[in-house]
Symmetry: C2
Subunit: 223 residues, 2 copies
């Protein structure tokens, strides 16, 4: 299968995860050049290991590599994040549709429990946990699709990029209670095995997020 659940075993794995973390969280800044020799001393591994890590990041579209020139961290553009959210809308919409079809009754029951615990947090205004809760919610539905390729595309590929944008553009989400209602309706549709509605609601949910982000971008004057 793919490596979204596996822990790092090899040195190249660890370096890949560490480097991705450092880029996503902005410690290595967007658009900057990644020197292989420099990174190999920084992370105390050979250039081969660094090269493998960079190549993996290139496959995730987190860095861009040019032959005989080197790799750069992708630049954060308004276009870029809109592209990502269009893909998210498409793929997670499909994931919700498949989840409505393929999740077991037990898994749906668990999803309802998760929703209730979120409700408590929202009621108690513990918005700090909302971010993690939102991620958890989407994770479960994606896993519920039972489509391994789809799961891998979202977890190994898109999510880290989306997170990179969110972290670095300072998008700790508001939209708490609104998003909660949207989650509730999605779970209802899945519980009713209504594939069509589940997909539609998930797509709207993500569209709202995108619109929300676009407004923030305008406010920040990014382009």
């Amino acid at each position: 299968m793919s490596f979204f659940t596996e822990q790092p075993v090899t040195s190249a794995d660890k370096t890949f995860f560490q480097l991705r973390k450092d880029i996503v969280e902005g410690e290595i800044e967007a658009g900057s050049k990644l020197s292989e020799t420099e990174l190999s001393t920084k992370y105390a591994v050979s250039r081969s290991v660094i090269r493998e890590a960079i190549n993996r990041l290139a496959s995730c579209h987190i860095v861009e590599r040019k032959a005989n020139v080197g790799a750069r961290v992708v630049a954060l553009t308004a276009e870029g994040i809109i592209d990502l959210y269009q893909i998210r809308e498409s793929l997670e919409g499909m994931a919700a549709r498949l989840a409505a079809k393929n999740m077991t009754d037990d898994e749906i029951a668990d999803l309802n429990m998760l929703l209730n615990s979120h409700f408590q947090e929202v009621k108690n205004d513990e918005s700090y946990y909302q971010e993690a809760g939102d991620v958890d919610f989407h994770y479960r539905i994606i896993l519920g699709s039972k489509n391994n390729h789809l799961i891998s595309m979202l977890f190994d590929g898109l999510y880290h990029l989306v997170r990179m944008y969110r972290v670095q553009l300072g998008m700790a989400g508001p939209r708490v209670s609104a998003a909660f209602d949207e989650h509730k309706h999605i779970v209802q549709a899945i519980s009713n095995r209504d594939e069509e509605l589940a997909e539609m609601l998930m797509r709207r949910h993500i569209t709202y997020s995108r619109t929300n982000i676009e407004q923030k971008l305008v406010g920040l004057g990014k382009n």
Copy 2:
């Protein structure tokens, strides 16, 4: 940007393209093990180059790698191709929607010309060209989405896997004249800038293909 238009410059590039070709076209059989040492002699390059090529193939989900064990070509399963077509339906549906929004009038005119030339071929029963024509049709719409990330996911990732299934399961498509009508309606929707309809028609078009393949799989007794 990504490398779907760029030609190979480095030795690792060439090896990657060659190896992918050999796997997709079945010269290296599905499910077989990829020995680094063996391949390095076969392709007359060092193990480093082979390793890089294999890693790229792993990112495309064409091979699966286990640490300290090695890489295997993915197995062809009914599940696998259904997963792929679900993703295609989702992503190419979105591509059609975006194409209806973002293609220039000139590009749409070109698309109509392409459709007419296909019509001539279908009328003359030159079904030999249908395969390439179909690919060309989808390519243009995907490019028309103007979403670079989406374009790369489809061209660099999904399409080679889909082709691998089609080649190795012997799916040189029938569905010629039926598919032509579907293409025609999709282009009409795009010409009318009807995003909603373009997406819906593209999704149906791909769903039909999937259903068609599923029936063939049943006929072949694959599972």
